[in-house]
Symmetry: C7
Subunit: 94 residues, 7 copies
């Protein structure tokens, strides 16, 4: 099947582990070329992160399992890119 | 006839299948080089996705059939690009 | 005379034919390298499209005839580029 | 003297000739590499166009004569670029 | 001393000479590679222009003398770039 | 483990040491290719800086220790990028 | 120590010397590749400038001394970039 090449996830993470540990562990999964986590909101006990992951063949279930191992959870999947080419949305931000 | 090279679709999708499964299946169709789905709105039973698909010769009917096989439906076609060259709209976002 | 190399048109189109059929047919005209149609507004019986067409020597009358053959009509011409070089407007969007 | 290499003009044009005829005729003048006309406003009897013209040595008086031959008139000159290099304004749009 | 390589000036100019004549004359000065004048405001007897001038070694006093010879005056100097490299301001427009 | 390649930090810094000394010392740490500090807010006794650090294998704990040695503290980690490729967030700023 | 490669300064300058003289003198300091001064505000007796300076190894104290020699003063340091690579802030302007 066509590979997933970029994922944008909304993630709820308790304050521990830290954003750095979280992002490093995540980007350490097989098939991940890079991961960027941006802190969107900070509440008393959780942080909301937007996490962008790029790779040649991403597996959301491994990503989800890793995120849950890190005591966090995927609140929503915001964007998914698949195929041999990353296609940008021409109407985004217009 | 001139090939369709990029489609931007507004899609209504029940929560199952997931956005990842949906986008992978879609981008697996013959002639699709890449597909990106962005979640625009989340309602109780459906998600609204904006789906951008690129390829050298896209067939909307195969895309629609695949989308319906995936229990989703095309709410509207937002943009269509055809021909040997993708032309961007110079007035978009002005 | 200097060739027309890009046209941006405001087009009113009944719901049939579809945007895809409309754009493919249009971009199939001689001298058209690419055409992109963006849906701007949807009313009960018509859609308003902004259509950008690029080519080395576009003929608006053939474009208009084709658009009318497709049951649609040009509501207005929004931008015209002519000559050996496409010149962008430096004041657009400022 | 230093050549004029880009002109941005505000032009009032009656509905006849059309924007396409107007822009083609204009870009057909000697020394013009390209011309782009964007419709800014439509009134009962005139259209306001912003016209950007590029060339290696533009002559505003020939441009004005041609515009007047086409029953239109220059309402204002909005931007003029001269010299061996087109310089963009770093403060525009800030 | 380090050369001035780009100047952005706010200029008040009577309606005569025209913007084209003004910009051509200005860009004809020794050491000027290009000049772009954008009309910012039009009042009864004057126009406010923002004038951007680029060159390898600009001399503001020659520029000012030329502007005054053209019956205009520098209302303010808005930006000055000097040295072997034009440095853009990373905070502009943020 | 996958290396951290870019960190964006919100830092509270007393007025002494200066922003220059602070940024130089920080970018002098092993493995740091560059650091940029932007002053976001100035209060009576502290400055809020947003600090972006790039390198091939950044260590937040060394960065934090250095920041504390410089009498400052990390108020929050705003973004973390890891892996062999820096991935930009396609939804940022839309 | 890691070199300072770009400085953004908020500078208060009396009307004399002029912005041009000020910027030239400043960019004439050893190690400065370019300096750009943008006028941000004009008051009765002073101008507020934002000054961006680039070089391979900038020395703020020499810059400050030169600015004070020119009868001006650094009101604040807005941004500092250090190291072998200029890192841009991915969150600026979002």
């Amino acid at each position: 099947m066509a590979p997933v090449t970029r994922l944008v996830l909304d993630v709820l993470k308790p304050h521990d582990p830290s954003v750095v540990t979280f992002t490093r562990q995540l980007s350490d999964l097989e098939g991940i070329d890079g991961a960027t986590a941006t802190v969107i909101e900070v509440d008393e006990s959780v942080k909301t992160l937007r996490v962008t992951i790029a790779g040649s063949d991403l597996d959301l279930e491994s990503v989800r399992a890793e995120i849950e191992d890190l005591s966090a959870s995927i609140h929503s999947v915001d964007q998914v890119a698949c195929g041999s080419q990353i296609v940008e949305d021409p109407l985004l931000g217009r």
